[in-house]
Symmetry: C2
Subunit: 133 residues, 2 copies
DNA sequence: TTAAAACCATATAGCCACTATAAGGTCAAT
DNA sequence: ATTGACCTTATAGTGGCTATATGGTTTTAA
């Protein structure tokens, strides 16, 4: 199949496919005489794997690492679990950071109501004063 | 004061200050005969304002908008409150997205324990199979 | 048969908010 | 005279794409 069909069947842009190839995440496929890339079922699976990882917000570097593990099927899989644990920890810390942020924003917002003049705006005042920390 | 002192007093890199100037967030200061930038107390306040906004993860575009409002002190401040409300909504949606993500990751992680071979790794399997959605 | 539409190719720039590097000028102290 | 700390500009890199420009190829419809 050609790049457009691969793109449609996995749900990505053709540009993204070429980008993954350049980044070494997708093996370079054979070419037709006219230079068009020809993909196989393996490429579909490989691309779908990448996409599933990306949905989970794994970085391209982490995906690369996972692909290396796939090449050594008889190694212990602890490193994979560790990679995932680290990623989960990262997501959790992002969540708590954002929750702190949300509280700060809500408290700032509470310092104003609509229908004031900008001069008297509690929000702008909160941002201008060093009272924020 | 020169750029280094401004940077130290607000806690940013000198590069960042020049970057804000290029982006139009910080007004271009006067220069000494040798070309060095000379800053005033106003610049300190202005830079600190930017930094407080950035801590709250407001974008440079949003900060720009806030600065425009500061120039019109007798306009109603509703637009400012709306800007903040939108930002809060955005942060909240990021949080819920990340919470969904965390659940998916934890459930994937639960499909494996350490001490398997990569071939049998539940995590890698979950990523390879289309069972994820 | 020809012309348009749809597809493919490469190369390059843009997004965001910086951060890093290179290459050099200025100034005070030793 | 030289070291070191400071300043200057210009340019490239980060991540993961996405957009644009420019041009070749194939398919489809008039």
């Amino acid at each position: 199949m050609r790049i457009g069909q691969l793109a449609r069947s996995v749900g990505v842009d053709t540009q993204t496919i070429r980008f993954y190839e350049r980044e070494g995440l997708l093996p370079p496929p054979d070419r037709q005489d006219n230079g068009y890339r020809i993909y196989t079922e393996r490429h579909v699976e490989r691309l779908a794997f990448i996409r599933r990882c990306r949905i989970l917000e794994l970085s391209l570097a982490e995906i690369h690492e996972l692909q290396r593990y796939q090449g050594a099927p008889h190694q212990p899989c602890r490193a994979i679990n560790t990679l995932l644990d680290d990623h989960i920890a990262q997501v959790r810390s992002q969540i708590t950071d954002l929750q702190v942020l949300e509280k700060q924003l809500v408290s700032l917002r509470a310092s104003c109501n609509d229908d004031r003049e900008i001069e008297a705006c509690g929000v702008l005042d909160g941002l201008s004063e060093g009272s924020m920390q």
